[in-house]
């Protein structure tokens, strides 16, 4: 009877396409929007993804998310280094500065201003330096006024121009020279990221009484990082968080204080509702239109369990086809935009595919249950009326 179920389903092309479209649309919307949401949340943590050497980040107790910088006293570094279990601790500055370009991002424009993120790396160890250079070398940071920019930032500042170095910029009335372009994860607001030495970044940033943003900490081998973070916080009266803790603190901040989760939540919910409405209603109508046929089959001796089996087979077929199309389209989007540097960080994770699959199963089951209920209560004698 599986074969008959398949023939019944695909025989009515318009309904079949309608049901598949409903499931495909829901799959596409859900998987795409969750992927974008996860991508945005990941980008909100760009510093933690890009700078992988530290085990613990030490900061002002009032910091709520990774881009919220509250300056620390230089003494903090030495206090942290004095805590038992700390293998190393280095300075790190994260600042937002205004940059003036000697060559603007328009061929005729000169002297454009752009807001950028400036990361000051420890002069000695260069901890936090990008892993992959596209042009130039990290060692060039030792040159006077040297800065390195990320690829997306380069394309933002000098669009459609081939990668090259040597451009002159101005940061806080200081001369800066571009010595390299690196590959780096994108920040939340897609601003260009400049890397330079900590000592130089202090000059490039607007003056403040306290310039140290974070103390980056490496734990001793075998040290419990959470315990060490608690110990540092206790000894220094600063906030010390492991990387994972800091990621979730940042995500929770964005979830609690922005409209992002609500907006995406609404879109995802709409996807589910539209999926259930289109797929469920069309599937139900399909069953209603075939009710006499189901009645005839029951009269001819088809048991209820086999009728249920037929409907579940039909639901499974539209579920698989619709899910395949929806997930395929979402995957094609992310595959197609993979090389779009400004969309970096957006991808469909296997967990999202599985989660979407679970939602599709729920949609199909709900749609099938309505139809099953209708067919189960159907008296086979209806065929004589």
């Amino acid at each position: 009877m599986i074969w008959i179920a398949w023939k019944m389903l695909t025989g009515d092309k318009s309904k079949y396409i309608g049901i598949v479209f409903g499931v495909a649309f829901a799959s596409l919307l859900i998987s795409h929007q969750i992927s974008i949401f996860v991508g945005i949340m990941t980008r909100s943590n760009h510093l933690l993804h890009n700078i992988r050497e530290p085990d613990i980040w030490v900061m002002d107790p009032n910091v709520r998310y990774v881009d919220e910088v509250i300056g620390l006293s230089e003494d903090a570094l030495y206090q942290v280094r004095g805590v038992e279990g700390v293998r190393w601790a280095v300075r790190f500055e994260r600042a937002t500065v205004r940059t003036r370009l000697a060559e603007g991002n328009h061929p005729k424009a000169r002297g454009d201003f752009r807001q950028v993120i400036l990361l000051g790396l420890d002069d000695t160890t260069l901890i936090g330096a990008p892993r992959k250079m596209l042009i130039g070398s990290m060692a060039d940071l030792k040159q006077p006024d040297a800065v390195i920019i990320d690829q997306a930032g380069y394309e933002f500042l000098w669009p459609k121009q081939p990668l090259r170095i040597g451009q002159i910029l101005e940061m806080n009335d200081h001369r800066a020279v571009l010595v390299g372009v690196c590959d780096s994860g994108q920040p939340f607001q897609s601003q260009p990221i400049f890397f330079t030495l900590y000592s130089r970044s202090i000059d490039f940033s607007p003056p403040e009484r306290r310039m140290l943003s974070y103390v980056l900490v490496g734990a001793n081998e075998g040290e419990d990082q959470k315990k060490l973070a608690r110990r540092i916080a206790q000894k220094t009266h600063l906030q010390a968080l492991t990387v994972e803790e800091f990621k979730w603190k940042t995500i929770r901040f964005y979830l609690a204080t922005t409209g992002i989760p609500i907006n995406f939540g609404i879109t995802i919910t709409l996807g589910v509702i539209v999926g259930i409405a289109i797929a469920g209603q069309t599937f139900y109508l399909f069953t209603l239109e075939n009710l006499r046929q189901f009645g005839a089959l029951k009269a001819m001796g088809l048991s209820n369990s086999r009728v249920v089996g037929m409907i579940l087979v039909q639901g499974t077929i539209v579920g698989i086809v619709g899910y395949g199309i929806g997930i395929g389209l979402a995957a094609a989007f992310f595959e197609g935009t993979q090389n779009q540097i400004h969309l970096k960080g957006f991808a469909m994770l296997p967990e999202i595919m599985i989660g979407t699959g679970v939602v599709v199963v729920v949609i199909v089951l709900l749609a099938s249950l309505l139809s099953i209920r209708k067919v189960l209560v159907l008296e086979p004698a209806v065929v004589f009326r």
Partner: protein, 290 residues
């Protein structure tokens, strides 16, 4: 019209050969099927004793729908016997209970009261699952609206009862092709219902009803959706291919043009059997002339 008809109880008109039919069901031996009175009748109607010459035996069948003030009594105590080897026509005005009675005989509805012995089995004693299996093996249906599956070809539609019995698809469709040839649609086996005329669709439905060699064929207004000529042809075909010594054919109809094809005419009125008439060749000829 009554003057042309000879009244006779149909129970007297069965041939011996009907005794030889294969009515073994659910693995029971023929002796297992001998249902004997057990003295525990739930109502005052006589206890049924299996009578192997009768395909259908109804005793005191009542059926009502609804409850309280809204209750409608559709069948008011039906006693009926229908023999093997005949085509019996169930006639009567609209709303007289023909469809309800045929539904009960086919095991699609349960009577409110009364007993029914169908092909040697007491329907009242079968569970729903057993009734479903019983229908799939022993009963063929021809519906007024054909109820063919629009996405299946004629052969595939005709094969459905065999597929319900889990016969392999290839085998079932091959058998359906043979039966389609018998009803004159051998060249239409790959046509979809939408490509067939009403008469051809009803012939496919007849093939579907016969493909699994049922012992009872139930036809509900098989000519209602057809013009006079097509209806007559379909019924003549039905009589030719369906009526056998080991099969009982019951046709519910309003169509007086096909009365001459019946061997027995059961007339219902207001939920009761008004009369049962045996049609001999003379009365059939007279009917045809009318």
């Amino acid at each position: 019209m009554g003057a042309f008809l000879t009244k006779r109880l149909i129970s007297t008109s069965i041939g011996k050969s009907a005794m030889n039919r294969d009515d073994n069901y659910s693995g029971e031996s023929k002796s297992d099927q001998q249902i004997t009175p057990n003295g525990s009748a739930p109502h005052s109607t006589p206890q049924l004793t299996p009578h192997l010459t009768m395909a259908v035996e109804c005793r005191g069948i009542k059926k009502s729908f609804g409850q309280g003030d809204a209750q409608i009594q559709v069948l008011r105590g039906i006693d009926l016997e229908v023999a093997y080897g005949e085509m019996s026509l169930l006639v009567g005005p609209s709303g007289c209970g023909k469809t309800t009675l045929i539904s009960i005989i086919a095991g699609l509805l349960d009577p409110t009261e009364g007993e029914i012995l169908l092909l040697g089995r007491k329907l009242n004693e079968l569970s729903n699952r057993q009734k479903t299996e019983f229908r799939s093996e022993k009963i063929g249906f021809v519906f007024q609206q054909y109820n063919l599956l629009p996405s299946l070809t004629a052969a595939e539609n005709a094969a459905v009862p065999l597929l319900i019995q889990r016969i392999p698809r290839r085998q079932a469709i091959a058998r359906a092709g043979e039966i389609l040839a018998q009803v004159g649609l051998g060249d239409k086996r790959n046509s979809l219902p939408s490509q067939l005329s009403g008469g051809q669709q009803q012939r496919v439905a007849i093939a579907r009803a016969l493909v699994h060699e049922p012992a009872l064929l139930v036809c509900d207004e098989p000519t209602a959706a057809l013009d006079a000529k097509s209806g007559q042809k379909v019924m003549e075909l039905l009589k030719a291919v369906a009526v056998r010594e080991d099969r009982c054919v019951i046709v519910v109809t309003h169509d007086s043009r096909i009365f001459y094809l019946g061997d027995t005419m059961i007339t219902m009125n207001d939920g009761t059997i008004e009369r049962i008439e045996k049609m001999d060749s003379v009365s059939q000829e007279n009917q045809k002339r009318i």
